[in-house]
Amino acid sequence: MNWGTWLDYTVNGLVIGNIYALLAVGLALIFGVANLINFAHGSIYTVGAYVGWVCITHLHLPLLLTVPLVLLASAVLGVAIERLALRPLHNASRIAPLLATIGISLVLDQVTQLVFTPNPRALPSPLPDWRFQIGGGSIGTLDVLILAVGLGTAGVLYAFLRFTKLGWAVRATAQDMDAAKQMGVDTNRVNMSVFAIASALGGLSGMLVGMYYNNIDPGMSFDATLKGVVAQIIGGMGNVPGAIAGSLLLGLIESYGIALFGTSYRNLFAFVLLILILIVRPNGLFSSAKETPPEPMTGSFVARGKPLAIPRPVLVAVAVLAVFVPFVDSDYVVQTATNALLYGLLALSLTLVAGTVGMVSLGHAGLLAIGAYASSLMAIELGLPVTLSIALAGVVTAVIGTLLVFPAFRMRGHYVSIATLAIGQIVALVILNWNSLTRGPIGISGIPPLSFAGIPLYDAPQAYWFVLVVVVALALLQARVLSSHLGRTWRALRDDDVAARAHGIATDRYKAMAFAFGGFGAGVGGAVTAHLYSYINHETFNAQISVLALTIAILGGLGNITGALLGSVLLVGLPEVFRGLAEYRMLIYGVVLLLLIRVRPQGLLGTA
């Protein structure tokens, strides 16, 4: 590659870096004053992009009018989120607002999709398309605009924080909220202002990205959140200048990475970098020391209360009834029930990890993917019988999953969620890029159907019974483990890891055991799914499934085995039964998640 091309990649990296910076700065401000990673940030970015699209392509407004409108609309949205969804959670557990922002992001993305359709839209830049030649490379007007906006924002933000009264209040609140209150600072107002500023910048970022690629779609929000979070963690959580530096670094690394390895590796770099930073310098590149928080921040979202005791005869009766579901004589109902049971498997695994052990994993779908690929490949390439390949896939997932999450065992609270989210993404990206093993983007087709004792199970009721047996067996195993010393050991670790360690409980060992057990179940679930679908690719098990699984687990009551199964029947089954609702499924999940966090954190059956 010649110098000109390098220069182009550098400009591209800086431009992307500036866009990340607009996101990351907002995330850093919010983290500073509210101690929260705002997972809805990418959704605001998407809304900003669509507001820009409406202004430019429908209302034909000039850019000078479009930008203020985008800023205003995004700011209003940010304020609404803070006021309506987050402030009421002030006294809830620390992970509750984070989960709430996930719910908000589901809702916003779905509303965007319903209003604007899921189809991508072109967002043309209204700027003249001049290109300036520098050295052997070139720079376009939009590049210049984005760089200018980036620099300008950094300058304005610096002046705001340094010279205005509100800016001082923001800094004081970020450093010590109680002390700021004692200076007469209305920290609620500070919070709201920060959400307004952060959201305005996020929305602007979305619009600029849309113009840069001349393309926007409702699915762009998730990636944006993740990139902003990665950039912020590189720079140190809550550190505004650090967020800018981290963003530029991330932009450049991605750009050079694409130059060297190709586009499909882009996100892999981002997430591997994230994991490395979390392990090596959890306080970011620019912080001086690695300090552990003095008091434990427990990441668990486990409400107090006793789980509802369901008498054993009732459970047995329900299980027996479940056997007769296929006699409804509707393949659709049976398939839906099978689907619900498969989610039940995932939720069983997650309720163990997030509920019993208290590590709120946001990347659980990655385990499904590992299991699905492992079983499919073993069945196709090695010709193993399907039943055996499914069982082995469970073991493979247990091993790989535990090893992957191992670095997160030492992390707490929000960091666990981010790390697992990134790990889930890494799994998908490795699948995408490891062509020789996984057939890359083409995916795997022709996966043999479920079979039992050599007899393929083609029709829906047979598959249903197969899955039912697996679910019941795994649920019983999980119940048995929980009734042993492991159950109390895991829950002790969740409730207070400091006290647990003082009584000889080795954290890593027990978290690994939980992940191995949960990984086995999730791997089996993924494997069964693969054999049912007969085709899978790297997107079959996406982050939405992870979020859905978490919603199911919370709905049932974290740590509650019966709850996980009930939750999946309700959340997966009901929208299908009322067919009209199918289109609004994700919206419903988002609303359910928000409502649960707010009014019934212990779920339907109570946390265990």
């Binding site: 486990v302 107090r304 006793k306 195993l477 048995r480 483990v481 042993s484 010393h485 492991l486 109390r488 050991t489 829950r491 002790a492 969740r494 409730d495 207070d496 400091v498 006290a499 647990a500 360690r501 003082a502 009584h503 000889g504 409980i505 080795a506 954290t507 060992r509 690994a512 055991m513 191995a516 057990f517 946390t607």
Partner: protein, 278 residues
């Protein structure tokens, strides 16, 4: 039994613990007293492995354990309670105390190097007779320990810890530490937040433990209890040891009175009056 030599810990610019020496012989009860912020709890954390000293050495039964992890120290027989009481809120009283017995559960440490964790998981699933017997024995032991606290905990054996009164939570913590069958017991303000009667109960229990031969290091603000139970007292202020010795002597030490009340003694004339209190 326990020897602390020149242990220091710095937080930012503040020397929270500054060159503390302390020795504890088997069967002794030594108390650490001192005003808020004197560094008592930090010293506890340095001994129990929850924090690492910046300088100095900690030896337990002749073995250098400086910087050992808390779980390893627990395995060596060191048990502790925490200043503000740290029970497992969602676990029942029984389960809380059973956790205390974790270190001597054979089922939790199968003798299979490398795959020990896997073996532990399988044992928990299969639960052969030996595992069940061990669990039953531990439960019996725990029931015995809970009996120490009269009818305070026994009737609430299945209640989750978060539903307990503050005093009862502190009792659960002590019970949990005892279930570890400690060779050395560290109690951090076991009577904090308790009223007179409750304090007397704890005092009696700690006294019984001492009589049974337990080696105990105690942080306590209620000096009456300290004076009555301790073989020796270490007084800390500003991270340093300002006095050490038998309670009789410490209570008459002007440096101690000054640390507690200020630099010119207030009120009654002689330290003897102070002694009369205790």
């Amino acid at each position: 039994m326990l020897r602390v030599q020149g242990v220091s810990r710095r937080f930012g610019g503040l020397l929270a613990v500054n060159g503390i020496d302390l020795e504890l012989r088997a069967g002794e009860l030594v108390s650490i007293i001192g005003p808020n912020g004197a560094g008592k709890t930090t010293l506890f954390n340095l001994i129990s492995g929850h924090d690492r000293p910046d300088g100095g050495r900690v030896t337990l039964e002749g073995r250098d354990v400086t910087g050992f992890s808390p779980e390893r120290l627990a395995g060596l027989g060191l048990a502790r309670t925490f200043q503000h009481g740290r029970v497992f809120a969602n676990l029942s009283v029984m389960d809380n105390v059973l956790i205390g017995g974790h270190t001597h559960l054979k089922a939790a440490r199968p003798a299979l190097p490398g795959i020990g964790a896997l073996a532990e998981l399988l044992l928990a699933l299969v639960r052969p007779r030996s595992v069940r017997a061990e669990e039953a024995a531990l439960r019996a032991e725990v029931t015995g320990i809970l009996g120490l606290f009269g009818d305070r905990l026994v009737p609430r054996i299945d209640h989750p810890a978060h539903s307990l009164s503050y005093a009862n939570r502190r009792r659960v913590e002590i019970a949990r530490a005892l279930a570890l069958r400690p060779r050395l017991l560290l109690l951090d303000e076991p009577t904090a937040g308790m009223n007179e009667t409750e304090t007397m109960e704890i005092q009696q229990i700690v006294g019984e433990l001492k009589a049974q031969g337990h080696t105990i290091l105690l942080i306590e603000h209620k000096l009456g209890m300290v004076m009555r139970l301790s073989d020796r007292v270490l007084v800390m202020d500003g991270g340093r040891a300002i006095a050490e010795g038998p309670p009789e002597r410490v209570r008459h030490d002007p440096a101690v009175i000054e640390a507690y009340l200020g630099n010119s003694a207030t009120g009654g004339e002689t330290p003897a009056e102070m002694a009369a209190v205790a």
